[in-house]
């Protein structure tokens, strides 16, 4: 199926640990995003990559490091996890930002719980 996929779907971990979330899209898109949805369901952009280059970094702590090995993958690594990192993380992809039809397709989300 053509889609945006994320692994894992659920992630429960202890404070201080390091964890990664993976995202893959097979839509042939050039741009990928990470969004964070907090406990109040508010969605906010974290990062965006276009053809493996970082184009958006929205004042996210340095503990968060995105990595894009190729334009079909955008992984999110989080060091020294804190309680406040508990949230649902969504990956999305789209064509290049400059194109008019720039619909973003979202993955199913990864629910991160930090204990």
């Amino acid at each position: 199926d053509t889609a945006v996929s994320q692994t894992p779907k659920y992630l429960v971990t202890q404070m201080g640990n390091d964890k990664s979330i993976k995202c893959e899209q097979n839509l042939g898109h050039d741009t990928m995003y990470w969004y964070k949805q907090d406990s109040k369901k508010f969605l906010k952009i974290m990062f965006s990559y276009n053809n493996k280059e970082l184009i958006i970094n929205e004042t996210v702590p340095n503990r968060f490091s995105p990595k894009s090995p190729d334009k079909a993958h955008l992984n999110l690594h989080i060091n020294s996890l804190e309680l406040g990192d508990s949230a649902v993380y969504f990956c999305a992809s789209s064509q290049s930002p400059g194109q008019t039809n720039n619909e973003q397709f979202f993955g199913p989300g990864t629910r991160l719980t930090v204990l």
């Binding site: 945006v4 741009t31 995003y33 969004y35 109040k40 369901k41 508010f42 969605l43 906010k44 952009i45 965006s48 276009n50 184009i55 958006i56 929205e58 969504f90 999305a92 789209s94 290049s96 930002p97 008019t100 039809n101 720039n102 619909e103 973003q104 397709f105 979202f106 993955g107 199913p108 989300g109």
Partner: protein
């Protein structure tokens, strides 16, 4: 700076009744507007979008929205809702870097 405001955090409605979810936007540049739906424990799905042209936009599942430049609004409407429409609805605008700027979300609760 671009932003959107969803005026209602929760909208309860009975099945088969009409519904309107309100969204106002703020932007000094060309406006792209979107409505996304999030069903429980799922990702976001695009309902409809306004990029240019006709101000009345029709989307999936019987939803439509009207772009009103004078009132800076992009309200979502459905003439008759179903139980299955119960979900979280997000209005969003798009910056020139492609990022989506979301409103606070509106919970639509359809009651039998």
């Amino acid at each position: 700076a671009q932003s959107v405001t969803q005026l209602d955090s929760q909208v309860p409605v009975f099945e088969e009744a009409p519904v309107e979810l309100r969204c106002n936007y703020s932007s000094s540049v060309s406006v792209y507007l979107f409505w996304y739906v999030q069903y429980p424990n799922q990702g976001l799905q695009l309902l409809l979008k306004y990029l240019s042209g006709s101000t009345l936009v029709k989307g999936i599942n019987g939803f439509e929205a009207e772009f009103n430049k004078s009132q800076t609004s992009f309200h979502l409407r459905k003439p008759s809702v179903h139980i299955s429409d119960t979900a979280e609805y997000f209005c969003a605008t798009q910056g020139n870097t492609g990022k989506l700027i979301f409103g606070q979300g509106t919970t639509l609760q359809v009651k039998p």
